[in-house]
Structure formats: structure tokens, C-alpha cells
Amino acid sequence: MISEPIDPGCGAAAASTCHVAAQGERGLAPTAPASGPAAPTAKDFKSTLKPIWCPGCGDYGVVTAIYRALANIGRLPHEVAFISGIGCSSRIPGYTTAYGFNTVHGRALPVAQGIKMANPDLLVLVAGGDGDGFSIGGGHVPHAIRRNLDLTYIVMDNQIYGLTKGQLSPTTKRGAKTPSSSYGSMEDPVNPLLYCLAYGAGFVAQGVPADLDGLTKMIEEAIRYRGFSFVNIQSPCVTFGDADNQVKVQKTRMKALASLGHDSTNRLRAMDLAQAYGEELYTGVFYRNPNPPQTYDAQIRERQGALKV
């Protein structure tokens, strides 16, 4: 469904971003068109703000992968809206040169959907931690998925609440002893991969900062997927996380789905593999819908066009 954008939302600067309109529905192109500004590099996406993350935090790798993936996509920083919630990982938009919005705890997805609905030309990235996405904001995930706006949701899953210093998170293993569970957790963790697959997400992947190239490629693919895409990143917490889930250990534990011969168009097989979340560290694309349905934002344009007075 290729349709002309109604309003690039660029106001006075519309002329400087007019190449966006020429790129069709998603405004995406592998590289910027020859007539447009020079293609951005990864460095162009890096801001001068110094991260608050602990040395050795997995999130450094994630933000690097995002810089690279965005450079590969070719959209300029001001055409990207990067939305997050609250938590260590939710600081991430500030470390990029995109338009960032560090919202409130658990509400990144609805804010991001409002942005994409208001201006479908934008490339919209959403990020946050496992607590932000699957605990306080858990109610928004199924609806973002079934609504299927074209945006990419990146969860930095560290199985802990890091910013508040180590309490149980929704992905913490049963039995874990933390400052909020001195005698051990009595709950089973959620399975973000299985949740998102079951809710009907068209693109579900898992990566690790230990494999920066793989992670970059995965994020790039997620952004290119036309519709809601979900990337769960096992991003270790160096301060409060499990010793057996740090970057070095990840390198020995990770199993690339591609090397296992997984067919990423097979949703049931993807769900089968996703059941191993918490035991096996599979990386790569679990599922990519080979026939993506029309996105919500495309439908908005269609309706606006049909009803225009």
C-alpha cells in the first residue's frame, strides 16, 4: 500500500526533509537517495550525553548496535523518534541524537503509538527494560501488537530492577534471592518471547550484546519489518545480575537460531523454541511473518485519504 503522506509533520522545515515523502509508505530506504543529504554514519546518532550505566553494562552494546542499525537504515536522526519508559535502559534515547522521549514508567508503547499515529512518516523506536515492558507496562504490549503500528520495540531484559538496586523483576527466576525476596522468589517469570509470539507479533527476535554484529543486523531487520517488531535483548546487569548471565558467559552459552537451521517463517516452531527462554540462550529471529498484514498507520492514511473533505 503505497500512498502519499498527508502531512510530513515537518512544519517550516518541510523542505529539508522532503525526501522522506519520496520513500513511500514507510519512508524507509536502504540508503538515502542520491539527491538527498549524505547518508548518516553510526557516529551521527551518538549524542554527547554520558551514560549513567555501570561500566560493563550490557546496554552499552545495545546502544552501539542501535547507532549502527540506524546508520544502515539511512534515515536522518531528526526523522527518528526514540521513546522509552523508566529504568536504567530507558535512559537510552538521551544517548542518541534522535528526537527522544523518556516518558513515565511502563507507558513508552502508548506514547510511541500516539507519535506514529500523529506522524506515520517518522521511524519510531521504543525501548525499555523487562520491568517497564512486562510488569508495570505489561497491559500495553498485547494491544500494541494487535494494533500493529509500524514500530520497533526493544526490551533490554536483565531479569532485575537495576535502577532501584536489585529487586525482583517479571523475568527473574523462581527462587531468586534479592532485596525484595530475601527467602527466594515464589513466582515464575514471564516469557517475553512466548508472550509476544502468542499475542501475534509479526517479528520476534532475541539478541545479546556479546554478539554486536548479530544484534545490529537483528535490530536493522526489525526496523525494516513492516509492522510491530519485538527484539528481546539479554542485556546483563553487571551490578545486580546473575554471574552466569554476563557478557563473557553469554558468548559461550548463545546458540544462533540460524546455525540450528530454524525456519523463521514457522510460527509454531518459533513458539516451541521460545519455550526454552531462561534455559537456552537462543539468538536470532524466532519469527518473521512472511506476509505482513497492512499496518495500522497505513490504514490511517487510507482512511484519511478516503474521507478527506
Binding site: 538521551g94 527522544g100 513515565v104 502508548p110
Partner: protein
């Protein structure tokens, strides 16, 4: 002949009481009357008791008024269930269903009405139309015959409504209407009870309600995004907008919950679009945190709260003005979110447009406190003249400002900093709920926090001078004053006019800007006052208390406040004004002070 007629009807769900009220309303609009129709239901989804009140007049009506001129009971149980909403006095004409078997002198009312008539409504419906469903048209016939409503205008409505249902159904309903008229003519009532003919305005006015007007105004103001969740009595705003917003290049999200609704609105505003949400009490409570985010990130948005009885689920179908505190103190932290309140259905238009203007100009969330009455009652209104309205857009930086290094939260004299939106080159910044410096970078510096708090509050100061958002009427030097707001303001206005007509020197102020409290404007109003009465629909008298928090009030600053679903009638306000205008009673009549208990209590520790 009367210039102002108040009709109240009650029956059970299937009686078509509300439908009769609506038909009469449309007929009145066609005839050129002004009117207000309020409906009241039990909380059942279908069936149960229902009632409506219709005030029809030859001049604009300000409120649904108090005591009924005409009361119609299809059965007494249902009529009595509405109690204070359908007050009968010794001046009321009471009409009731003969089948109830109650003798005219034994009707279950505490007062003796002026005229009591029973009518065989059910029998007339059955004999004329062959169905009880035609009862409402018998009632219309009775009203037409006894009180002189235009027969043709009502017939036109019946034809419009039943024309599609086939000639037989239509003919049956027309016969039911005729049977009602015939019965009324055979059993006449004093002709002085008839309403005078309408003067002018035939065919130009329309029937509408506050929720519909709110949606129209939002589109007029340039609203391009709505995010919300169904909730009584605000849902119709979303329903009206979803039909039309696309035509204006906008979009609408029925979100998974109230929080997501307003969060999406914040997102749309961040993306550069005028955006709004609408809700009622319980939803408003849920939106608190995101309202705080919008204040902190300085993002414009409009949040309509159609107030109903609270707390919690409260009285979902009844009006109340009890969310004022919740709106004024709607999120944690040191912040002010401007609050506006419409005083009538047609006023909802201007107030909604103004809410968008203030939101955009001052980069702040604005709360509109409507209420169930304004939102859902039907008014006959004159066409809204929009030629005088101005529309305000947010301040976007110039190309030079962007080229010179952009700081989103620049500390300007006014406190307003130019705002960009994604897509605008050179304007990228980090919006955040976290405290930030001028550039937008997170900070925990006390010095910067002080400056930013000051900026966010200072920028709203011009609002405190907005005299155009205050209505003042009456004797400007009067020692007695009245303040009222929202849907109750029309009641106070009618009472003040009556008081002045009876020789009481009094003036009225109606703030449409409720918050921030405009100290100077209140002080000016208070200057001549010895006493002031604040009239509102909440148990605590929330505006009465909020004003005291900000302004020095007159020596006698009294509250006339009632919980929702206990309508305040103009007569009740007038009575208080009469009392207040009497000289003070001798001091001997005052109670002597009792010994305070707290000293003894303290000794126990």
C-alpha cells in the same frame, strides 16, 4: 399564558418517556422555542425507571430549573424514585396514568398540587394504535391539547420518526397522538397554563448537547488526535470525533485503557499535533501521572473531564462538581494545570477552543471540567458564530534560532520556550519526565530544578489577568456577591436576576477560568462585598475552599453546596440571598462557645 414551562415525566423503561421528551424537544426547536432537556435513568443498561425534565421557554433558558409546572407519572413507583429531581409544588399540574388505580385525592405526594388529572394513557394507546408502544405519543397529544404545543411541529417529528417503519405503524402513532389531544380537549385545563407562542428563530436553532459541541469545537480548534477509553458520561465526545476527525487529516485511538489513551495524546502532541482526551472521574484519576508528565515535558494537550458523582464509581449518570480538587491537584509535584469550565452547552464550544489555545500557547495540559448535565442534557441553541474566534498555535523556533543551537527548555522571560517536533531538522531534543536543564539533558541539580519549576509556573501568570474568562453581572457596588461555576452558574444567574428584580443589591461572578485562581480578579470582585455566597454542586464546596486558599475573602464567605443528583434550583439560591440580605440577627441569639476538648485530650499524653 406562560413564557416558561417545566415538564417532568417518569415511567419505566418501556414507557417511552425519554422518547416523548426528545420528540417534544425537536418540535420546540422547530417552533422557535428555547429548551433544555435532561434525562435521568436508573443504572440498568435496558429497562428500569427513566425520567426526563423539559424546560421550554420563549427566551434563552439557563438551567433546567426546579419545581415542575407539569408532572406526568406513568406509574407512581418510578415517579417517586426520582424524588428531588422531579419536585412537585402546590402550583404544579399533575397528570398520571388512570390504570394506577389511585384516586386524584389519594396520589402519593406530600403536597397538594394545583390540578390533578388522571388519563387513560395505556387504554388510549391500545385503542388507537393497538400497541402500548404508542403511549409516548398519547402523552404528546395530552401535552399538545392541554398546554398548547404546536400540533404540526410534533406531527412532523412523528412522521420523521415513524415514516420509515411503514404506513401502518405511522398511522397508528398519528392516531395515538390525536387520541391524546382529543382526551385533553374533552377534559380541559385552565387556559392560563398554556405556553405562549414562540417569537422568531423558527428553523434556525438546533438540538444538541455538550459532548457533541465539545467534539465540534475540538475539530474547529484544529485537534488532529484523540486518544481515550469509553466512560460514562464522556464517551460521546469520542463517538462524535471518530466520525469526523479523519476528514480533517487527524486520527483517533480507542486505547486499551485510560492511561494509554492520554499517553498516546502526549505522544501525538510531542509529534507536533493538537491533541485531546476525554474522560470522567475514575478515568481522570488514572490519567494523573501522565498529566504530570505533560506538565514536566511542557507538552500541550486538552483533557476533558465530564464530571459525575464520585468518589470511585460513584454516580456515573449524575452530574457533580466534585472533581475540582482532583483537577487542581491532579498530579504530584509543584505544578499547575489550567482548568476551564463551560457554563452551558453552547459555551462548551468557546471553552473547548480556548482550552486548545491556552494549551498551545503555554505548552501545558489544560483540563476542561464539564459535567454530566452539560455533557448529556439536550439544549436548543442558536447557531455558533465562530467569526470572532482566534486559533493559537504553539511557538516553533525560527530557522535562525535552530541554526544557532537549539535549547528546548530555554529560560526565557515569559517562561515559554520555542518547541520543535520530530521531523524538524536541527530541533532534536530529549523530552522527559525527569528534571532537565535548558537543553533537555537530565539533571538532579537543585538550582536547575528551582529555575525550571519557576519557569513552568511563571509562564502561566498571564492567565491570571484573563478578565474575558470571567462573567460578571449585577450591581458592581453591591455588598452581596455570588460566585458559581459550571452548569450550576446558570442557576445562580437566574437567582441573581430574580433577587435584583425584587430589590436586592447583588452581583454575580462566574469564572470560566477556574485554575490558576486569578487573585486580582477575585480581589476586585470582593472589594465592595460584605458577604459572598459560593454556589456549587459538591458536598465540600470545593471552589469555596479553593478560593480561600489563594485570596483574602470577604468577612462572610458562605457556601451553598450540595452533593450531585440533588439539583440546586434557582429558588433555593434566591432564598439564601434573601436571608443574607437581611440585617444580622442580634448577638444574643448566637450560641455560647463550649469549652474546647483538646486540652484534656492533650493531658492524656
Amino acid at each position: 399564558m406562560l413564557n416558561d414551562l417545566i415538564i417532568g415525566m417518569a415511567g419505566s423503561g418501556g414507557d417511552g418517556i425519554v422518547s416523548a421528551g426528545e420528540s417534544l424537544m425537536s418540535a420546540a426547536a422547530r417552533e422557535g422555542y428555547y429548551a433544555i432537556l435532561t434525562k435521568s435513568f436508573g443504572s440498568q443498561i435496558r429497562g428500569g425507571e427513566s425520567s426526563c425534565r423539559l424546560r421550554i421557554a420563549t427566551t434563552p433558558v439557563l438551567n433546567p430549573a426546579g419545581a415542575l409546572s407539569v408532572a406526568i407519572a406513568l406509574n407512581w413507583e418510578d415517579f417517586l424514585r426520582f424524588g428531588g429531581e422531579l419536585p412537585v409544588t402546590s402550583d404544579t399540574v399533575v397528570i398520571y396514568e388512570q390504570k394506577t388505580g389511585v384516586a386524584p385525592d389519594a396520589i402519593p405526594l406530600k403536597v397538594r398540587p394545583a390540578i390533578v388529572r388522571s388519563a387513560p394513557i395505556e387504554d388510549l394507546a391500545k385503542s388507537s394504535a393497538g400497541t402500548l408502544q404508542a403511549k409516548n405519543n398519547v402523552v404528546l397529544g395530552l401535552l399538545c391539547g392541554w398546554f398548547g404545543f404546536g400540533r404540526d411541529a410534533i406531527l412532523e417529528g412523528i412522521r420523521k420518526k415513524f415514516g420509515k417503519k411503514g404506513p401502518e405503524v405511522l398511522a397508528g402513532n398519528e392516531r395515538a397522538f390525536a387520541a391524546g389531544i382529543e382526551f385533553a380537549e374533552k377534559n380541559p385545563i385552565d387556559a392560563s397554563r398554556r405556553i405562549a407562542a414562540a417569537t422568531g428563530g423558527k428553523g434556525v436553532r438546533r438540538v444538541t448537547d455538550g459532548n457533541e459541541v465539545c467534539a465540534e469545537a475540538a475539530l474547529f480548534a484544529g485537534c488532529k488526535f484523540f486518544g481515550g477509553y469509553p466512560i460514562t458520561p464522556a464517551t460521546e465526545i469520542m463517538q462524535h470525533l471518530q466520525r469526523d476527525i479523519w476528514k480533517h487529516g487527524g486520527s483517533l485511538l480507542q486505547a486499551e485503557d485510560e492511561i494509554a489513551g492520554i499517553a498516546a495524546v502526549v505522544g501525538a502532541s510531542f509529534a507536533g499535533k493538537k491533541a485531546m482526551t476525554a474522560t470522567s472521574g475514575p478515568g481522570f484519576s488514572l490519567k494523573s501521572e501522565v498529566l504530570g508528565l505533560a506538565s514536566q515535558a511542557e507538552l500541550p494537550l486538552v483533557c476533558v473531564n465530564v464530571q459525575r458523582g464520585g468518589p470511585s464509581t460513584g454516580l456515573p449518570t449524575k452530574p457533580e462538581q466534585s472533581d475540582l480538587f482532583a483537577a487542581a491537584f491532579s498530579a504530584h509535584g509543584d505544578s499547575i494545570r489550567p482548568i476551564l469550565a463551560p457554563i452551558s452547552v453552547s459555551d462548551m464550544f468557546g471553552v473547548t477552543v480556548e482550552a486548545f489555545n491556552i494549551a498551545e500557547e503555554f505548552q501545558t495540559p489544560v483540563i476542561v471540567l464539564s459535567d454530566q448535565e452539560i455533557a448529556q442534557r439536550k439544549d436548543i441553541i442558536d447557531p455558533i458564530d465562530t467569526t470572532g474566534f482566534k486559533l493559537v498555535d504553539r511557538l516553533v523556533p525560527t530557522a535562525e534560532q535552530l541554526a544557532g543551537g537549539y535549547s528546548r527548555f530555554k529560560l526565557t522571560d515569559s517562561g515559554i520556550s520555542p518547541i520543535t517536533h520530530p521531523g524538524l531538522k536541527g530541533g532534536a531534543y530529549l523530552a522527559a519526565g525527569i528534571e532537565h536543564n535548558e537543553h533537555g539533558d537530565p539533571t538532579s541539580s537543585g538550582e536547575m530544578h528551582e529555575k525550571m519549576n519557576d519557569k513552568r509556573l511563571r509562564k502561566l501568570n498571564p492567565l491570571r489577568q484573563r478578565r474575558d474568562l470571567f462573567v460578571i453581572e449585577g450591581d458592581l457596588n453591591a455588598p452581596l456577591g455570588v460566585i458559581s461555576w459550571g452548569s450550576v452558574a446558570g442557576v445562580a444567574l437566574e437567582a441573581v436576576r430574580a433577587a435584583r428584580a425584587s430589590g436586592i443589591a447583588v452581583k454575580l461572578m462566574v469564572p470560566k477560568l477556574i485554575y490558576p485562581i486569578a487573585e486580582e480578579i477575585y480581589a476586585e470582585f470582593f472589594a465592595s462585598l460584605d458577604q459572598c455566597l459560593v454556589v456549587e454542586q459538591s458536598h465540600q464546596g470545593q471552589l469555596h475552599r479553593l478560593i480561600r486558599m489563594w485570596v483574602d475573602v470577604p468577612g462572610k464567605f458562605v457556601s451553598l453546596a450540595r452533593s450531585g443528583a440533588n439539583p440546586i434550583a434557582p429558588a433555593a439560591v434566591l432564598e439564601r440571598l434573601r436571608e443574607l440580605s437581611q440585617p444580622l440577627q442580634p448577638t444574643a441569639a448566637r450560641r455560647s462557645q463550649t469549652k474546647p476538648l483538646y486540652r484534656d485530650d492533650l493531658r492524656a499524653y
